[in-house]
């Protein structure tokens, strides 16, 4: 357990020192500040625009930080051969993957919380009454990023180049939001083979629409059971991706 905690701490600090990570955060800050400009374009809906744009930006920059962080998380260590320092110790490979993943996730969550705090302050300067649903939306953004970090980590271990991993991850991101539309189209498909193939594909893609509370939080009739299911889904899906990553990494010759 101590070994995992050490890896988490080491990864967290490594990410904070990463220039790309810092640039992403800085850029996120700038864009967040510019949401004031967008808000001014629709004065009567200023709060709504700042709220929606801010949450979308936090998610987008969280995703960018997660994808770039996860893709280089293990590959860099393999290339620089620093991974031998860890793997030569009596440490199961699964611990290493989980530790690295959690360390990265902590770093991303920290950056998103800082961006969220700025967003909250921006909203407070307007006539906004803090709502619980805002914090739930923020929590679900974190859960989405957790899922995508696990997906990106898996692709980084299976594909041969970083670019391919990034492309596959973004592809999953889009499919994750479009799953229900694809299922809707499947009902109209006449070819059963293609329908089965797409269903099998949808089996492994994340259902991000289930976690997209950001687009739903003003809708009446959402119950806490659905939210709990969605939170549970994100944890189980992330665990599945991590298990698959560990399986791949166990076979990997480094």
């Amino acid at each position: 357990m101590n070994a995992v905690l050490s890896i988490i701490r080491y990864t967290f600090l490594q990410q904070l020192r990463n220039r790309l990570y810092l640039v992403v955060i800085l850029f996120g800050f700038l864009i967040l500040a510019s949401s004031l400009l967008f808000g001014a374009l629709a004065p009567d809906q200023e709060v709504r625009v700042i709220l929606d744009l801010g949450l979308a930006i936090i998610e987008l920059f969280g995703l960018v930080a997660a994808v770039f962080g996860a893709v280089t998380l293990v590959l860099e260590e393999i290339e620089s051969r620093t991974i031998y320092l860890i793997l030569t110790r009596p440490l199961p490979r699964g611990y290493y993957i989980v530790g690295r993943f959690l360390g990265l996730l902590c770093a991303i969550a920290a950056s998103m919380i800082v961006m969220g705090a700025l967003h909250f302050i921006l909203l407070q300067t307007k006539t906004w009454n803090p709502e619980m649903s805002y914090f739930i939306s923020f929590g679900f953004i974190l859960l989405k990023i957790m899922v995508m970090t696990a997906v990106a980590l898996f692709f980084s271990l299976t594909s041969t180049s970083s670019i391919a991993s990034i492309v596959f991850t973004f592809f999953f991101w889009i499919l994750g939001h479009f799953g229900s539309e694809i299922k809707f189209l499947l009902q109209k498909a006449h070819n059963p083979m293609s329908a089965y193939a797409i269903k099998a594909f949808l089996f492994v893609t994340p259902n991000l629409e289930f976690l997209n509370y950001r687009d739903l939080f003003h809708i009446p009739g959402l119950d806490s059971r659905q939210l709990l299911m969605a939170a549970g889904y994100s944890v189980v899906y992330t665990s599945a991706c991590l298990a698959l990553s560990v399986a791949v990494f166990s076979r990997k010759e480094v």
């Binding site: 739903l216 009739g221 059971r225 599945a240 399986a247």
Partner: protein
Amino acid sequence: MPSDSARTWFAASVILFGLAQTLPLIGQKKILPHFEKPPIADYAVLDAFATLSGARRFGADLAFIQFLHFIARPMEDVEMERKGLGHGHLHDHGQPLRESDIDEIKDFNLRSVYLDPYFHYSYLFGAGLLAFYLNRFSDALEIIQLGIERDPTYWRFRLYAGAIGYTSQNQTDKVIPLLEEAVQYPDCPVMVANILGNLYEMKGDSARAADVYRHILNTSRDSYDLFKARTKLEALQQKFGI
């Protein structure tokens, strides 16, 4: 050959993926309608991107901003014609505001509510604009009807449906109480308050008209609306000493 450990982890991942897939079946409700053919083809890619990236609400905000931008100029012209101050009904390029332009206004409004079917303000704003400024009552009621279908719990749609219905029949006396109620709510578009002020002025009730303009000055954040309300209030003060 894969090691036993790899096999175990792989089996665990298959079980977890299976478990993950059952949770949406139990707990997920399809709340947002499926992505439909966008009302304005030029923005289809943008709208599709908003849906694909899970940002329908923000996409609706952008669509609403574009809607406001689109109507800004024609609305000034409509106002001018109402007051007899100019030619009126002039569009961006000096062309009269055609029926097709008004259709486009409706499409712009539909675009934002297709992306976010619970964007109540957009329904109220679009329907108010079409009914009270452009006299397109059936289009306005169509938008309100769509809003009622999407969110039957939002009863203010029915209030607006009543006001639009009475306006179409020139039953001003029945419209005024409905609008008086509507302007009490914080999500009532300023345009509706302006209409109420105009109706009071038409009836010669300057004191109440002045109250409405004061209400706009206290509640609106739009500099143009504030300017208009201030101008009207000053005119009433000069004319009637209110």
